[in-house]
Amino acid sequence: MQTKLAQLSIFVSKFDRRYLQLAFVLLALVMLVLGAGAPEDGGRGMCR
């Protein structure tokens, strides 16, 4: 388990930290707009 965590840590450290930060911020912004908004396009749970 510890070996796998270490491997994961090494794998993640190979990425540029700025790209990881960008990905996290973009993901958070996607969650923010999806959570704040409430448009209806009939796409969720509609039995067409």
Binding site: L29, M31, A38, P39, E40, C47
Partner: protein
């Protein structure tokens, strides 16, 4: 999926990058604090509205309360980041949506007339007035029985537009805020170093 909101975010990102390039600036990641609040705030909605195994079968009362809780947490995040460009516009939209949702049992109202533009008549006929509209955030209500009807999902794109979606005044502000936030992240190269 709230495609119009994601499109606004993506369009703002692309426009921001192009604008930054034209001005020989560098586009930077928005500097936002307490991002974990967004994760906490969105989590109930992810479970209730977006995960197929869990988005049906949850009592409406729990769904309504969870949506209000979720949006209050997101509003707290906006308050902490109110000085970031675009966030205050987005927060205004969130407040409007939260007001109408809280006033209508925790759901965003949509009238049968508006809903008829979004789904076929055969689908609409399966829903009763006062019931949830699918497994999303909306509830089917007659306009005269809706509190704060002017804040409900009442706007539609032009009929010729291929993607039909009902949206609220709050949604417009949220899309505008997200677009502005992404657009204004171009910083001069010197200050970015």
């Amino acid at each position: 999926m709230s495609m119009i909101l994601l499109v606004a975010l993506l369009a703002g990102l692309l426009a921001g990058i192009v604008l930054a390039l034209l001005q020989k600036h560098v586009w930077q990641v928005p500097s936002l604090r307490f991002l974990w609040l967004v994760v906490i705030g969105f989590l109930p909605q992810a479970v209730i509205f977006y995960l197929p195994p869990t988005h049906s079968g949850i009592p409406d009362q729990v769904v309504g309360s969870s949506l209000i809780f979720s949006q209050v947490v997101l509003l707290v995040f906006c308050w902490f980041n109110r000085r970031v460009a675009g966030i205050w516009i987005l927060a205004c939209g969130l407040v409007l949506n939260l007001m109408v949702i809280a006033a209508n049992s925790g759901f965003m109202p949509i009238s049968p007339q508006t809903a008829s533009h979004v789904v076929p008549a055969t689908v609409l006929a399966k829903y009763q007035i006062g019931s949830r509209f699918g497994t999303g955030k909306d509830i089917l209500l007659l306009a005269e029985n809706t509190r704060l009807v002017w804040l409900s999902d009442q706007f539609l794109p032009p009929a010729w537009f291929p993607y039909q979606v009902a949206f609220s005044l709050g949604d417009i502000l949220i899309a505008a805020g997200a677009f502005w936030l992404m657009l204004t992240q171009g910083k001069p190269l010197r200050s970015a170093k």
